[in-house]
Amino acid sequence: MDMPQVMRGSPVHDVVVIGSGAGGGTVAHVLTKLGVKVTLLEAGAMLNPARDYKEHKTPADYPHRGAGDDAASYFGRKDFGFFSAPTGYWEIDEEPYTVAEGSQFRWFRSRILGGRTNHYGRISLRFADYDFKASLLNDGLGSDWPVSYEEIAPYYDKAEDFIGICGTAEGLRSAPDGKFLPAPALRVHEHLIQKSSRKLNIPCVPSRMAILTKPKNGRLACHYCGQCGRGCVTASNYSSSQVQIFPAMKTGLLTVIPNAMVREIITGADGKAKAVSYIDKTTRTEKQINCRVVVLAASACESARLLLNSKSSRHPDGLANSSGSVGRNLTDTVGYSLGGYVPALEGMMKHDTDGYAGGHVYMPWWGLEQKNKDFPRGYHIEVGGGYGMPMLGSFNGVCRSHEGYGAGLKKAILDSYGCSVGFAGRGEMIPNAKSYCDIDPHVVDRWGIPVLRFHFEWSDYELKMVKHMHDTFAAIIEGMGGRVNGPKTVADTARAISTPGEIIHELGTVRMGSDPSTSALNKYSQAHDVKNVFVADAAPFVTNPDKNPTLTICAMAWRASEFIAEGLKKGEL
């Protein structure tokens, strides 16, 4: 590497946003809408949907059928596969992370404009009143957010109205209703699942997805190609790149600097942030950009890393960390999946079951009032099934169980195609003292930036939940006349539970709170210690409910952005 060349003395920018995922995209959108000039630093490359998204391709369009020229899909290096839009990996060669001895953690990052919103699942659930105020549940666990559901609800409205979420109003406390576009029809297996669930008194309702079932805000309605995880060329689903950043760039108020890997935030003599230093990855030179306000939206753990790496004599433990809470309270969603085989579906007429990608129904948490369960909090259930696009690996399961070869193998594959259903539980994890990230004192990445080290432990609360998930999924499968794949019960919950980080809902590392001695941010996601530093990803979250986090990231970032715009106008920032 050449000697870093430090460029200083650039003009002062109003707001510098770090990262362009759900959080950064929302901030860029809202601030530019309010007339504020924004500069966005993104560690990944610029996105070109026409080139980078592959949602209308089939494996046969490529000689390697989606394995990648180096057969990567067969050896597990590209976990979401060749078709997944566009760069998202557990491991990034130039940006390692470490895991403390005895812990496990997988950190999924995407380095591209739009971050992980290019290929996320798009399940969009509001947190409930008790998710913000854990104390409402009277179980003595967790902490309250400094904001209530009522305070956030208007921002959920704004985010939903802008992004476009389909679903139905159900009046359930655990799954507050939003501003919904119509939900599409249920697939056949979903009809069966719904009947089976309801027999068990488990609500099974249309999913809530960031997908346009009607044209909205200049974007096209979904055409049901069923490949949302690959990105959507017609922008019929939400990605911050297409829905927020490209339009914001057109206003002339947003400047995007791609391939800009931020190293740290630099503070001035007054203790306030005055500049952001980053590595221009294309030239491998170091640059600085001066600004009035910094918004970190690099994803929860990366924002914690940046704060911890921004050390100075005024902030010896890192920026915004006088409480010592930065990096603490790391959580991920509890995950467990189970599949089943449903004979009722055998021999059914073939039809197009693509719809949008993901279940058209889901089961919100139903056990709020239940007294006889042995774990706190709850989970929701996501479902899969249908005649999906045949991909590499689609029939691994049949190959393994049928073995053999010849006409018999082919028949087994044809007969069982589309007869399987899958259930995935997504449950709340209670923050614990053993789950956190800090800076590894020995390792730096390709850019010379000290890396994160993860420490993680599931507690008994989460492990017990997994057992409940298994029994519930098995009951639903059997209720529809199906057979559970694998053993009847989970013998070893510690092995059955998802690997920490694997559900990709890591959050909580820069938590908000009303007490500056125990939290890093106030209720507007503003650092207690440094008034012109904000965090707009999932790092501020105080709880990690059973709901996927992205819609709440958008709502909270929207609120923080309005606060920033107001502060700039009043000259307070």
Binding site: A50, H56, K57, T58, P59, D61, P63, H64, R65, G66, A67, D69, F75, P184, A185, L186, V188, H191, L192, S196, P215, L220, A221, H223, Y224, C225, Q227, T234, P343, A344, L345, G347, M348, K350, H351, D352, T353, D354, G355, Y356, Y387, G388, M389, P390, M391, L392, G393, F395, C399, E403, Y405, G406, A407, K410, I413, L414, Y417, G479, M480, G481
Partner: protein, 199 residues
């Protein structure tokens, strides 16, 4: 092909803006892509496997998924090309296939005094019957069983991602629809066969 396909998609997008996104328009995009692909396909020249190995893979592909009732088998569906291509890009994959094929020939020579390719059909299936099932796992057959798991998996992958395999499966998706619809007939069929038939 890339640019025409994109142009078509763009046209589709434009039509949709006017509220005219038709299923036919979307379908057109997909069909066009398939035709463009057919036109460019030539005779494949193996890159990683030698002629004997390639022929052996071709034989294996048709044994694993044989042609039947007018439907092509694994070989015509492109499994040999696919396997050779991946071997050419990955040392690890080449190791699996070259080693596996050598093992197969060695076993065949020992048992039948002919390579797998030259062995009689009954001998070929006798050997495959041995290595196609984990229950036959012994130190002697172990390498063959491991190899055959890869062979089966990759031939199945190649076949069912090929147009012939997609047709055999009856996959009807990856097309545009204005409204997502599910045939009532299919719903009725499944429910009548389920525990919920009484309503």
């Amino acid at each position: 092909m890339e640019s025409t396909r994109r142009d078509l998609l763009r046209n589709v997008a434009a039509a949709a803006l006017l509220g005219q996104l038709s299923a036919e328009a979307m379908q057109h995009v997909h069909e066009h892509a398939a035709e463009a692909k057919k036109a460019t396909a030539g005779v494949y020249k193996p890159k990683a496997l030698n002629a004997h190995e390639y022929q052996t893979v071709t034989k294996l592909a048709d044994l694993i998924l044989p042609p039947e009732g007018g439907e092509p088998g694994g070989a015509t569906a492109g499994a040999p090309e696919f396997i050779d291509l991946l071997c050419s890009g990955s040392d690890r994959m080449a190791q699996i296939w070259l080693g596996g094929l050598a093992w197969l020939d060695d076993q065949s020579l020992k048992r039948y005094e002919a390579t797998f390719l030259d062995a009689k059909p009954a001998q070929q299936t006798e050997l495959l019957d041995l290595i196609a099932y984990r229950r036959n796992d012994t130190p002697e057959t172990g390498p063959g069983i491991r190899f055959f798991e890869w062979a089966r998996r990759m031939v199945v992958d190649a076949y069912f991602t090929s147009p012939a395999g997609v047709k055999a499966l009856g996959y009807k998706g990856n097309v545009g629809m204005q409204v997502f619809q599910v045939p009532q007939e299919a719903i009725t069929y499944a429910i009548s066969r389920s525990p919920f038939k009484e309503g």
